[in-house]
């Protein structure tokens, strides 16, 4: 088993562990933190599978934007619902560990040469190649997804307007 495969296996096992912890967690805050850990491990998996751009987007979109929205939604839970789902019930060092473990994995495997010539994906996920694909062969799909994102943004504005009316 090469170093890249060991890196992939470790990130996959951690992701599965965090996913199972999320399943058995009653507090939504704690469940969100376990999900964040799983999503970060998936990003590490992407990185060592030869798709660093996807790993970056996974962190920015999921572990960043979506998880911030999830936490804001939990904080906005009113009254009794907020009290029921709110408490963290998770030791802070464990919560910090979900963030620190991926960093430690990347640092460890990079220092050992995990992204060398033996890397599984090589240069497969380069942004130039992905850009050519997205705006070439998959241009129609890219446009459709763009329209979908625009409609999602519009729907949020619509919810807000109707909520205030």
């Amino acid at each position: 088993m090469s170093l890249a495969e060991i890196a992939l296996a470790s990130s996959g096992i951690f992701a599965a562990f965090f996913g199972l912890k999320m399943l058995f967690e009653r507090s939504l805050y704690a469940a969100a933190i376990w999900l964040l850990g799983a999503l970060l491990q998936v990003a590490v998996f992407f990185f060592f599978a030869g798709a660093p751009l996807l790993a970056f987007l996974q962190i920015v979109i999921y572990a960043g934007a979506v998880m911030v929205l999830v936490v804001i939604t939990i904080m906005a839970a009113p009254g009794s619902a907020g009290l029921r789902v709110g408490p963290l019930r998770l030791p802070k060092f464990l919560a910090a560990g979900t963030l620190l473990i991926p960093l430690a994995q990347v640092a460890l495997f990079l220092s050992l040469g995990g992204m060398g010539k033996g890397s599984l994906g090589g240069e497969m996920g380069g942004q130039v190649l992905l850009g050519k694909l997205l705006f070439g062969r998959y241009a129609a799909a890219t446009e459709l997804v763009t329209i979908l994102l625009f409609l999602a943004a519009l729907s949020i504005v619509d919810f807000e307007v109707k909520g205030k009316a």
């Binding site: 992701a15 979506v66 599984l120």
Partner: protein, 98 residues
């Protein structure tokens, strides 16, 4: 190695599925959906790395965007339920209307 990745993918997917099916809070169900989508992405990226096929990565990138849109709309609906005083749990949405 392939068997291990498939086991991880299945564990992630069924954790998400169980969260979506067994939990009553809409937000927890949404978290389960996110986990299921991530598990599919793991399988696709691993397949791409085995086949050295960047086309699959382009599809994963589009999937990421679609999943983000789905999460935003879902969270917006939950916030709307909160603002109207409706508990964001499955019992409150047991009937169709319209």
């Amino acid at each position: 190695m392939t068997a291990l990745v498939w086991a991880v993918t299945l564990a992630l997917f069924f954790s998400g599925l169980a969260t979506t099916v067994l939990r009553r809070q809409l937000l927890a169900m949404l978290l389960g959906l996110e986990l299921m989508i991530s598990s599919v992405n793991v399988a696709l990226v691993y397949s791409a790395s085995l086949a050295h096929d960047p086309d699959i990565l382009a599809v994963v990138l589009l999937l990421l965007a679609v999943a983000a849109a789905e999460a935003v709309v879902g969270l917006g609906l939950i916030m709307r339920a909160y603002s109207r005083g409706i508990p964001a749990e499955t019992e409150a949405f047991a009937e169709l209307r319209g």
